[in-house]
């Protein structure tokens, strides 16, 4: 049957194309990861790295494996989680400008974590209560946005984005209020969460973040066809047999967990979920079967890159990584609005 052979080649071609994209992206992450491992304020270079790997107990070994490598892993999983949360939210709201930061979800999570610090909850229930309070903060914002969009029937896209930006403002104002009234020993922690930093000494939190983001990635794959159907709009997705309300609820929870956990470990890092999907969509297309994993890998690589930049730009000092993603992301956001004026038209 020559005809059906021809057709199945079509499918093979798709698989090969997807596999090669994943391969290319993994290479990209490995290269960036390796570069990031080599450079830093300590002034380590390639040769020393090689010798450092094989000699345990040296200071080089300890810098590499106790400080830089955990930081790179954390950057990878947080970048992946945020950018995956971004593509998921964009799928639900059918808008490329939506992401955890622009919707105020990151702000909510940061507020949750800060309340935890101020009221000393972590000292009672342990550090693991931090990600949980971050998740709770995120979910409160999401429920708020969700009920807005339901009660008003159709909350227009730009109204939703404006609400998100305002939620961010309100959250950061409350953060400042808490800073003004809190004890000095808490101040450092709060500023840390507001600016975002990948310096995280607690290795358990890093493992937990890794675990949760991978779990989120796997969970997102149970909904990749639903997200594809949602490309056509909610009514059309229903016509394709998707229970839209149920799916949206599940996806909101996935996005909140990913955002909440990321924010509670590294603070607010904005625009990763906007920048990365924007470029990934250009290369791999809008099929969520490839989009989810691509956004995750590229998002991880991107945050490693930004963090490396943040470490070396003003050596020996360190920039908050959110500064870099904020500048890049803000510019792209404005550019995307100008290009797609119809969204706000």
């Amino acid at each position: 049957m020559p005809v059906s052979n021809g057709i199945s080649q079509n499918r093979k071609r798709k698989l090969v194309r997807w596999a090669s994209w994943i391969f290319i992206m993994l290479i990209f992450v490995l290269v960036i990861g390796f570069i990031s491992l080599c450079i830093g304020s300590g002034g380590l270079y390639f040769k020393e790295i090689i010798s450092g790997i094989f000699t345990k107990g040296t200071p080089e070994f300890s810098i590499l494996f106790d400080i830089r490598l955990p930081r790179i892993i954390l950057a990878f999983v947080v970048g992946g989680a945020l950018s995956l949360a971004g593509v998921i939210l964009q799928g639900i709201f059918r808008n490329p400008l939506v992401e955890p930061y622009t919707l105020g979800i990151s702000g909510g999570a940061a507020l949750g974590v800060t309340l935890n610090i101020v009221f000393g909850i972590a000292s009672i229930f342990g550090t693991m209560s931090m990600p949980i309070s971050g998740f709770l903060g995120a979910i409160v914002v999401i429920i708020f946005l969700y009920s807005l969009s339901i009660n008003r029937r159709i909350l227009k896209m730009h109204e939703l984005l404006l609400c998100g930006v305002m939620i961010s403002f309100v959250c950061s104002s409350i953060l400042m209020l808490l800073m003004a009234i809190s004890k000095t020993e808490n101040l450092h922690g709060i500023i840390f969460w507001m600016m975002g930093s990948l310096e995280q000494p607690n290795i358990n939190l890093i493992w937990m973040t890794l675990f949760v983001s991978i779990l989120g990635l796997i969970a997102s794959y149970f909904f990749c066809f639903d997200l594809n159907a949602l490309l056509l709009g909610e009514e059309e997705a229903t016509h394709l047999g998707i229970n839209v309300e149920k799916t949206k609820r599940a996806l909101f929870i996935i996005a909140s967990v990913l955002t909440g956990v990321s924010v509670s470990v590294v603070g607010i890092i904005g625009f990763v979920g906007l920048l990365v999907p924007h470029f990934v969509r250009m290369f791999v297309g809008n099929d969520y079967r490839i989009l989810n994993i691509s956004a995750f890998i590229v998002g991880g690589g991107f945050l490693i890159f930004c963090d490396t930049l943040a470490r070396i730009v003003i050596v020996p000092l360190e920039l908050p990584v959110g500064v870099i993603t904020g500048i890049l992301g803000g510019i792209l956001f404005i550019y995307a609005i100008l290009k797609k004026r119809l969204i706000f038209g």
Partner: protein, 266 residues
């Protein structure tokens, strides 16, 4: 195959459908006509369970749709909507493959040979093969209708619902789309329900018409029975003249401009 029983349905502000009932047999081509706001689209949305009726039942093959999962409904009914609003770009082939979503098995991740066969047939039938690589957002009105019909066909439905399939199209494309629908109806034995604004097209292609007025069934029957000048004048509140088409002998509606303006123009 489809039975609508005493449906009351609408939006929170008030009812738009008031006690609508009708039966649809297999292989019918039913046209829904009526003025703007008479509840035509609401009726379609009720059939696909987008809107939950306040009272009454929608029954497909003897089963109330409220007892069916969305996925089961999607295997029986496919919908061609009036407009598409795509925020993200996908190409025509990917778009048509989306129609296979309700038929995929739980752990199926890639399209199988059967899916590809069905999609290929649908594209050939709707003459969309050469559009395959184009982006959906770049298509013209006539092309997007054919692509949307192809996507509905790959769902392998028993019932096809269309919301004004010919609006915004020139007469050439209108006829192409409706000839295609007639072919699907006659040769592929697909039951079709379509909303029409153009009464002459509805009269020409449908074997039954449902005329709606203010959310109620005004009358239902063969085009000759429904499209009478008394009925149309009352429902549309405008004078018309009904003649027979010299092509098919079906009713043909001529509009009559308002008398005063008509006089002025002479």
């Amino acid at each position: 195959m489809l039975e609508i029983k005493n449906i009351f349905c609408g939006y929170p502000e008030g009812f738009t459908l008031k006690n609508v009932s009708f039966k649809l047999e297999k292989k019918e081509f039913l046209g829904i006509v009526g003025p703007n706001g008479s509840g035509k689209t609401t009726l379609l949305k009720t059939i696909t369970r987008l809107l939950k009726p306040k009272k009454g039942e929608v029954i497909i093959d003897g089963v109330n749709i409220e007892k069916m999962k969305f996925k089961e409904i999607a295997k029986k009914i496919a919908v061609v909507p009036q407009i598409f609003n795509m925020e993200f770009d996908i190409n025509v082939e990917e778009f048509i493959f989306l129609g296979r979503i309700p038929l995929k098995s739980t752990f199926q991740f890639l399209e199988n040979k059967n899916d590809e066969e069905v999609v290929k047939n649908a594209m050939e039938l709707t003459e969309t093969v050469k559009l395959k690589e184009r982006l959906v957002n770049s298509l013209s009105g006539g092309e997007i209708q054919r692509v949307a019909i192809a996507r509905a066909l790959v769902q392998e439905p028993q019932l096809l619902l269309l919301d004004e399939p010919t609006s915004h199209l020139d007469i050439g494309h209108q006829i192409r789309i409706l000839d295609l629908l007639r072919k699907l109806n006659k040769e592929n034995l697909l039951t079709i329900v379509a909303i029409f604004h153009d009464l002459n097209l509805a009269s020409e292609y449908c074997n039954r018409l449902l005329l709606m007025k203010e959310g109620k069934t005004y009358c239902i029957g063969k085009p000759e029975e429904v499209l009478t000048y008394q009925a149309l004048e009352e429902v549309y509140d405008t004078p018309v003249i009904v003649q027979k088409s010299i092509v098919s002998g079906k009713p043909y509606i001529l509009v009559v401009p308002h008398p005063e303006e008509y006089k002025q123009s002479i």
